[in-house]
């Protein structure tokens, strides 16, 4: 009566073979866990834009219009040639396709894209700023980016934007005693002029400077990532795991399976923005010609003492609204050469890659994660993945489905009308 063991073994083996064949097929059927993970990456899961309590003008449409004009204005630079839009090109996802950004000089980092940053608690690759408006002020005073001073920028506002500025922020202070070049910058003469100014004048100039940042942030807040081919797929993926046909190719589907599985990408690139908003050491090589870059280990110190952070007098937030800053990790081994997880939305179209453009192609990025090389300093979080050549190609194919035009009023993607 008992089933001969050999028949039982045969049946089990056949069942295993069928199961394996199904798993290896085009990937049209997803498990409940996979469905949940895919849905968590869908743009439809993006929450309504959170308020920015540090910027009371964040959602003011007159501030958006002013910020739009300022973003494209090259008068906000020491040589009259550099605007935000010089490196953040609207037609190129607000970045510049270069390994290192070039303003009046050359920086040590890759230009970051802007869409969706209103959701980010930390700005820059090292998170040294904690709001969009505080971020916007950094390059303006950097000697290699805009290269100017806050006194110069306040005069530009007074001369060219008085009405638009006063409609949003109220009366401009009197700048009669303020020299054209003065600010707490590297340049010794500009710094000396700044220190010679009475405190009240320094305060007035800084107020105008901060409001420039808040207007630019209001503009940037309107730039959001657009829905991609992957999002159409995720939107139509059924709860029972049946995938919609004709949206992703079998290779792209296989790449998605790797992305949420074997390749561990969602460890950091999770949620609808494909970022955990945190900092990781992934063993990215150092650039020999650049000074040592400690990443978050340096950025954490900078944001805590930043003149414009959430707890500063220039922030509109109540101290209890600064939870990210309040509970951030200030130091430690894990911060060494840790850099912010970039969103992967649009990333396939943003070569070169990494914080100093160290990796030229997407295929090489995938190869880097597959090999998991030793970090030049600190410890990499990566482990070798053991991907086959075919799997690496599939992963790349999937990443290329994450590209879409920016979701914004089309007028905001063009230089403003004068």
């Amino acid at each position: 009566m008992a089933t001969p063991p050999i028949v039982g073994f045969g049946a089990v083996a056949a069942a295993v073979l069928v199961a394996c064949a199904a798993a290896a097929s085009s990937g049209r059927r997803w498990s409940p866990e996979e469905v949940e993970t895919i849905r968590s990456l869908w743009i439809g899961e993006l929450e309504p834009l959170p308020a920015d309590p540090s910027n009371r003008y964040a959602d003011d449409s007159a501030a958006v219009a002013l910020g739009h004009r300022l973003f494209f204005d090259t008068r906000l630079s020491s040589n009259g040639k550099v605007a935000c839009a010089t490196c953040h090109l609207p037609g190129r996802q607000f970045q510049d396709d270069a390994p290192l950004a070039s303003g009046v000089g050359t920086t040590t980092r890759r230009t970051m894209p802007i869409a969706g940053t209103a959701y980010s608690p930390w700005m820059f690759w090292d998170g040294r700023k904690d709001s969009q408006w505080a971020q916007a002020l950094g390059p303006l005073e950097s000697p290699v980016e805009h290269g100017g001073t806050r006194a110069q920028y306040a005069h530009v506002i007074a001369e060219h934007y008085r009405d638009a500025y006063e409609r949003v922020f109220g009366p401009l202070p009197d700048l009669a005693r303020v020299p054209r070049v003065a600010g707490p910058v590297e340049d010794a003469a500009a710094r000396a002029a700044w220190e010679a100014l009475p405190a009240a004048d320094r305060e007035n100039v800084t107020e105008v400077f901060v409001n420039i940042g808040k207007a630019i942030a209001a503009y940037e807040r309107r730039l959001q990532p657009g829905a991609t081919r992957f999002d159409r797929y995720a939107a139509r993926l059924r709860a029972d795991g049946r995938a919609p046909a004709g949206i992703l190719t079998p290779d792209e589907e296989a790449g998605l399976r790797l992305f949420i599985g074997k390749a561990n990408c969602t460890q950091c690139h999770n949620g609808p923005r494909f970022t955990d908003d945190h900092f990781h050491n992934t063993g990215v090589p150092a650039v020999a010609s650049l000074p040592e870059d400690l990443g978050r280990a340096a950025g954490a110190k900078q944001v805590l003492r930043d003149e414009f952070n959430c707890r500063s007098a220039w922030s509109d937030a109540e101290p209890d609204q600064c939870t990210e800053l309040e509970f951030m990790v200030p130091e430690g081994e894990e911060l060494i050469r840790a850099f912010k997880t970039p969103s992967l939305r649009g990333a396939a179209d943003r070569a070169p890659f990494m914080h100093a453009g160290q990796i030229a192609t997407l295929a090489q990025v995938i190869d880097h994660y597959d090999r998991a090389p030793r970090a030049p300093a600190g410890t990499t979080e990566l482990r070798p993945l053991g991907l086959t050549r075919e799997e690496r190609a599939q992963l790349e194919a999937y990443l290329r489905t994450l590209v879409a035009p920016i979701d914004a009023d089309p007028r905001l993607l063009q230089p403003p009308r004068r």
Partner: protein, 161 residues
């Protein structure tokens, strides 16, 4: 002669190796290799399902019993507030206590992305914890080091995000 004898021994050895090497490799693969690979990949044994949850959990030396209660469902990338309730072994609420918090993902070898701490003491033996965040899905440990007149001890919660 000696040379010939030696050759014969080597040949016998070769025959043994034909059987022994695959056997040893097989055993290594089935037994030793898996834990070794796990170690190389920084993997640690995941606790049983019954070890997960908000407690009550006893501290390592048995000095305290701790329960946690998030104010909302724990979700990835959100800043959370917890209530931690501490009782002594005799069920008395634990007062005048110093609590430090750490944790992380044992499978990935990293700590918490934030530095949560006690921000309030809303009732006897009840402590409010703010600034807790999880930046990825999976198994997280959340550890409280507790020091009071009763002694120093720690309690670890296993959470699945």
């Amino acid at each position: 002669m000696e040379k010939g004898f030696g050759t014969t021994r080597a040949m016998r050895g070769g025959a043994w190796a034909l059987i022994a090497i695959p056997a040893v490799l097989g055993l290594l693969y089935l037994g030793a290799c898996a834990p070794m690979m796990a170690l190389m990949h920084g993997r640690v044994e995941r606790p049983a399902a019954s070890e997960f949850g908000f407690g009550p959990r006893q501290s390592a030396r048995g000095l305290y019993v701790a329960t946690i209660e998030p104010t909302e469902t724990l979700r990835v990338r959100r800043m959370h507030r917890l209530r931690l309730t501490l009782r002594a072994a005799d069920q008395a609420p634990v007062e005048d206590v110093s609590i430090t918090i750490d944790g992380g993902m044992p499978e990935h070898g990293h700590g918490l992305p934030t530095k949560p701490r006690v921000t309030g003491n809303p009732g006897p033996g009840v402590y409010q914890i703010d600034g807790l965040k999880f930046n990825m899905g999976g198994w997280w440990e959340l550890r409280f080091r507790i020091a009071s007149a009763a002694g120093t001890d720690s309690v670890t919660f296993n959470l699945e995000l």
